[in-house]
């Protein structure tokens, strides 16, 4: 069938959602569907422009399509008789991030009214979809809590899980991610200062802005961790990443209240590595079960250090958790076949 994948695009910014939309397009095409990716431009400051974007989406017509798969706000407001949603998240600034330090909307009366309009539009138009799928139970729970809507979780698969391998359980933990405060790389560096086992850490990823590196470099310097923390402040090649996964003792991924399980968690599980995450990490809990497929600990340097020491001193434990992690994936039925079949049903 003719499928239009509908998402949004913040001009001059590339993000993970765009990658996922692209992979979905590839996989639909491979299975014989004629596919087009449509991305509507979007911005949210000053807050009133959100209203313009919402109205613009309502007035947009997508023809000729047998099916629309809408992934983000406000693109999912585009009317179509054959629309399904694969929701990555709603407009978070109007929901769970509202009235938090991450609000991101210029404050004031106007922002409050815009927030009400966003919620009203979601209430009115989300139910137009033939079906609502989400990327995680976190997103589904929010949809239920804020809009009273039921949805089904459809986990986004990795692009090419077959390439991920396990070679050994080495002497380092691996933390691959964009370097940004919400991912909490600094927590790992501070934890290293409290470890006794001599475990090392490899932190790899491009900083959102160069200044995010400063506190990491300062802590490494102050605590004398230069030879135990390897900081690679750039996007590493796919091959290098696979190599680092393959030989890690375990993977550390302690973000603050993540929307979904995070690709890192799933990649780690394919590499048969336990994931060490935190109690306030949100979506990672969908896959990481304390003591079974990894460790879920309080988000303090001391607690994290203790978990890392235990794994470093008991490799058999790291290996056991890692194997359970890989088995956990098999129970999830995460595959592009399943995603394409579900979204085109």
């Amino acid at each position: 069938m003719k499928v239009v994948i509908l998402s949004v695009h913040v001009p001059f910014v590339r993000g993970g959602a765009e990658l996922l939309a692209g992979w979905l397009a590839d996989n639909l095409q491979e299975r014989g569907h004629e596919t087009e990716l449509v991305q509507l431009p979007f911005r949210w400051n000053p807050p009133r422009v959100v209203l313009d974007h919402m109205l613009s989406a309502r007035l947009t017509r997508i023809r000729p399509a047998d099916r629309i798969v809408a992934m983000k706000f406000p693109a999912y407001l585009v009317p179509h008789e054959n629309k399904v949603l694969w929701l990555l998240h709603q407009f978070r600034l109007a929901y769970e991030l509202w009235a938090t330090p991450h609000q991101g909307l210029e404050n004031g009366y106007e922002a409050g009214r815009v927030r009400e309009a966003v919620i009203a539009a979601d209430d009115a138009y989300l139910p137009e979809a033939r079906a609502i799928y989400t990327n995680s139970s976190v997103t589904s729970a929010r949809l239920k809590r804020f809009n009273g809507l039921d949805s089904t979780v459809l986990y986004p698969p990795l692009r090419d899980p077959g390439s991920i391998r396990c070679e050994s359980y080495g002497d380092y933990v691996f933390f691959p991610s964009r370097i940004t405060p919400a991912k909490r790389q600094e927590l790992l560096v501070q934890a290293l200062a409290h470890t006794r086992s001599g475990v090392r850490a490899v932190i790899a990823g491009a900083p959102d802005v160069p200044a995010y590196l400063d506190p990491l470099l300062e802590t490494i310097e102050r605590e004398g961790l230069g030879d135990r923390v390897e900081l690679i402040p750039e996007w590493i090649s796919e091959e290098r990443k696979l190599q680092l996964y393959a030989n890690a003792l375990a993977v550390v991924y302690p973000p603050l209240d993540e929307d979904s399980y995070g690709y890192v968690t799933m990649e780690a599980f394919y590499a048969r590595k336990a994931v060490v995450t935190c109690e306030d990490s949100g979506g990672t809990h969908e896959l990481v079960e304390e003591g079974v497929t990894g460790r879920v600990v309080p988000s303090t340097p001391e607690s994290l250090a203790e978990a890392l020491d235990e794994l470093a001193e008991d490799r058999a434990l790291a290996e056991r958790l890692g194997h359970a992690a890989r088995e956990r994936l098999d129970t999830l039925n995460v595959s592009w076949d399943a995603v394409v079949e579900t979204l085109t049903a």
């Binding site: 003719k2 239009v4 695009h9 001009p11 001059f12 004629e34 087009e36 449509v38 991305q39 509507l40 431009p41 911005r43 422009v49 313009d52 974007h53 109205l55 613009s56 989406a57 309502r58 007035l59 947009t60 017509r61 997508i62 023809r63 000729p64 399509a65």
Partner: protein, 342 residues
């Protein structure tokens, strides 16, 4: 400079606007600009056009880019204080085709046509500069919008990827299959052709019925052996093979805005056969020098095909001159980028 290149596109259609936007974006990037391509879905059904125009009008790119370059109609409704339009074509059923190929008549059609005029007036008035993709389009802008503007031909960056193998036994007609491209005229001409030349038509139909009707025409005239109808997009490699092997290229659209087929044929050292009312191709084709220009009439077209089929050395001479004409045109990106970012 941060530049947004915006155009409307019809989902699933591989039209010129998409190609144009992609190549322009690449050229601007090569010159060191930070460029983002914004492709906006737009379905040219008049009954749904007013709401779609408003959808575009609500989008403001002022804070995203220093310069907004708008291509296909009506992308120039996007708001930006520094907007340059490289005008590809009007919504022609409301303008030059208003009498011949108008949009279907409905209770709203007059009001909708007025909205189209008004939105063009508004978008073009706001632009700092307007360039036309061809003289044909510049003439229409003068006639209908009282606007005089410079012509800026698209660069032809990959002309070297076309080649010529021979002057073979078929005429090639590559294009979207649509009434305005007049594939039916070409098929009807084949009924009058006396030489044993074949016609290869390839391209995807906008709507499947157009292809069906063409098939019926071929069968009705008993031309199955002489007319090959490939009703699908051909890949770029095969397209170049067909250009390389044909005797000449046929492209007889009605009032074409620009027409990439012309320069592609020239790049493959092939003469172009076109019609007196074909628009864009006439800016490049000179009758009897690098191609043939005939009346849009089956017998006249058949005469032109027979002429080249009966005199291959002539087809070669015209084709070689076409290649030289293309070189003289010097269709490079530098002057285009220069003008658009001035």
């Amino acid at each position: 400079m941060k530049i947004a290149v915006a155009t409307t596109v019809v989902p699933f259609a591989k039209g010129g606007a998409r190609r144009h936007a992609g190549e322009l974006t690449a050229a601007l990037s090569r010159r060191g600009h930070e460029v983002d391509e914004i492709l906006l879905p737009f379905w040219p059904d008049p009954e749904e056009m007013v709401e779609q125009m408003l959808a575009l009008r609500l989008l403001d790119l002022t804070h995203e880019a220093e310069l907004l370059i708008c291509l296909r109609t009506p992308s120039y409704l996007l708001r930006h204080p520094n907007k340059v339009v490289w005008f590809l074509h009007h919504h022609r059923p409301a303008y030059d085709l208003r009498e011949t190929y108008p949009d279907p008549r409905t209770p709203h059609s007059d009001a909708i046509r007025e909205s189209i005029y008004e939105s063009d007036r508004l978008g073009l008035r706001e632009a700092r500069r307007v360039y036309a993709i061809s003289r044909v389009v510049a003439d229409r802008l003068r006639e209908y919008n009282n606007l005089s503007c410079e012509v800026l031909y698209p660069a032809f960056g990959d002309a070297d990827s076309y080649h010529c193998d021979e002057y073979g036994d078929f005429i090639f007609f590559p294009s979207r299959i649509a009434p305005l491209k007049r594939q039916a005229l070409a098929v009807e001409a084949m009924a009058y052709v006396r030489s044993d030349i074949r016609l290869v038509i390839s391209g995807k139909a906008d709507v499947p019925e157009h292809l069906d009707r063409l098939r019926e025409l071929v069968a009705g005239l008993g031309l199955e052996d002489r007319v090959e109808l490939e009703g699908a997009w051909i890949d770029e490699g095969r397209k170049r093979e067909l250009y390389a092997g044909c005797l000449a290229v046929l492209y007889p659209p009605l009032g074409e805005d620009y027409g990439y087929v012309t320069t592609e044929a020239f790049a493959a050292s092939k003469a172009l056969i076109t019609c007196t009312d074909s628009g864009g191709p006439l800016e490049f084709v000179q009758d009897g020098r690098n191609g043939l220009v005939v009346e849009p009439e089956p017998r006249a077209l058949a005469g032109a095909l027979d002429e080249l089929a009966g005199d291959r050395p002539r087809a070669r001479r015209l084709g070689e001159e076409a290649k030289r004409a293309l070189r003289r045109l010097d269709l490079r990106w530098d002057p285009v980028v220069e003008a658009l970012t001035r």
